[in-house]
Amino acid sequence: MVNLKEKSWQIREDIVTLIHHAGSGHIGGDMSVTDILVTLYYKHMNCTPENQNDPNRDRFILSKGHSAEALYCVLADKGFFPKSDLDNYSGYKSKYIGHPSHKVNGIEMSSGSLGHGLPVSVGMALAGKMNHAPYRVYTVLGDGELAEGSVWEGVMAGAHYKLDNLTAFVDRNRLQISGSTEDVMTQGSQEERWAAFGWHVISVPGNDTDALDRAVEEAKSTKGKPTVIIANTTKGCGVSFMENKAVWHHKSLTDEEFKQAMSELEQRRAEAHE
């Protein structure tokens, strides 16, 4: 059994290292979404390098595709490709680009343009229902992304077709590139919005793998409707000078910042190990 908390801190070290090396990346959202990815890939999803062509594997779509670095780090750690591949992340002719690419092992669909992942996931979940297949479909949306109208087309369809094999996460870190989500476009209670559309809603502390783990279990046992897990996260989670600062939406680190970030993350990992 993987220690999910320890794994989350280790993945964050990998993310910070990757972005420092590459000189760019959506680091704030990477750090907020990490616990969701770790809970799915190391606990719940039937999705490994060995079964990646199995029609019954669970599917994952990173709708907030700008958190590609976090997903790449998880996939590399899971063995979908060698970690050394990421040395050329965002480099000339690299297939490891700034948004998930289906050319990369383990990535089901290229994403990056917001508002696509949920409708695509609805299609995947519908195919599962048609084929009476046992797989589940997971997708993660950003909260800023929820301003895209196409998201709500997918929300309607997911409820209409009673897709209880579909679970959406909202990485509710309350910040987007221009500032607070509430200042950019009021969101209010996302819990009430999704519930009004007919989804089963679970709201959890989104950087707590125990809470996420329980929420996914609840989603799996919820029948007749899809589930959304509103993950109340902290943007830049784990690095003191990044947390809750919109400026870290897309930014690299100086050598000094890198040292400090790694020091803080290593300490958190050590604490989680005990």
Partner: protein
């Protein structure tokens, strides 16, 4: 006179094939009636997905189905499908290279008096500009049927535009069809008329008018606008005095643009593009619109006479 529109021919093929192929899925955006897909929806409800009036969702759900092994046919009015869903087509279908066939129904000015909101006069340009996307404008029911049968055999994205109205038969059921090869309707070496979609019948009739004037016109059905049959274009450029292109599409980025690009680069020739204008089109039934802009046999013949 044939009374079966091309959209009906698509449904007939899918109904027939879906009996043994459970991976065929048809999706509509409250468009099953206008798409002639009611029969499919009633015959195979478990292989039919209604998404409501939500064309973006239509395309993304199709892509998700396709990525999980389904052969998705997304059927919606060409005007909405090709532009409202443009980004979903670019990303979820073309870039992700999913097995989705987009069926743009009531294309061009089929909706006539319903006005510019319902016309799709830039769909060739929009669709063809996406890497991986193929664009087909079949001319009659027989070609439509064979095209759909051929596309069912591969797993690549495609866009098919058909009109709303029944169109004249250009072929018969025994005609020879080859995917991505233009179809030669008649030989001729004075002028070449390259047309697609509903304009092929008009081109064929124009050739008959020209014959009466002693002009031999080659008529080429370029139903495969992308990938275009370059060899057929170049052969026409070399062997005739000039080329007339005819399409139910705006002047930019359609069949005429593509033919001109090829000839300009590889075999400079006189090319005249007969198209809809770069302005809102007049109100009227589609034939009235065609007649007004010279997109009919007489207009094509006149342009051919002027060219040679």
């Amino acid at each position: 006179m044939n009374k079966i529109p091309n959209r009906q021919a698509i449904c007939d093929v899918l109904v027939q094939k879906a009996a043994s192929d459970k991976d065929i899925v048809v999706l509509c955006s409250d468009s099953r009636g206008s798409g002639s897909m009611t029969n499919f929806a009633n015959t195979y409800p478990e292989q039919f997905v209604e998404v409501g009036i939500a064309e973006q969702n239509l395309v993304s759900i199709s892509a998700g189905l396709a990525r999980c092994g389904k052969k998705a046919f997304a059927v919606s009015p060409a005007c909405f499908l090709s532009t409202r869903s443009m980004e979903q087509i670019k990303v979820d279908v073309a870039y992700n290279n999913t097995n989705v066939t987009l069926i743009g129904i009531s294309g061009g000015v089929s909706y006539g008096a319903l006005g510019m909101t319902h016309h799709s006069t830039n769909d060739i340009a929009a669709m063809a500009s996406n890497p991986n996307m193929r664009v087909y404008l079949p001319s009659d029911r027989f070609q439509t049927e064979k095209l759909v049968q051929a596309l069912l055999k591969d797993e690549k994205p495609a866009y098919i535009r058909v009109g709303r109205n029944p169109v004249e038969d250009v072929y018969d059921e025994n005609f020879s069809f080859e995917l991505n090869r233009a179809s030669l309707i008649c030989e001729g070496n004075d002028v070449a008329i390259i047309a697609c979609g509903e304009m092929v019948a008009a081109a064929k009739n124009a050739a008959a008018l020209l014959k009466g004037k002693g002009v031999s016109a080659r008529v080429i059905d370029m139903y495969c606008v992308k990938p275009i049959d370059r060899a057929a274009v170049l052969k026409a450029a070399k062997e005739t005095k000039g080329i007339i292109t005819v399409e139910e599409h705006t002047v930019f980025g359609g069949l005429g643009s593509m033919v001109s690009q090829i000839t300009a680069a590889e075999c400079p020739a006189r090319v005249v593009n007969l198209t809809l204008p770069d302005e809102p089109v007049i109100t009227g039934k589609s034939q009235e619109v065609f007649d007004y802009y010279g997109l009919n046999a007489e207009g094509i013949a006149k342009a051919a006479m002027e060219l040679i």
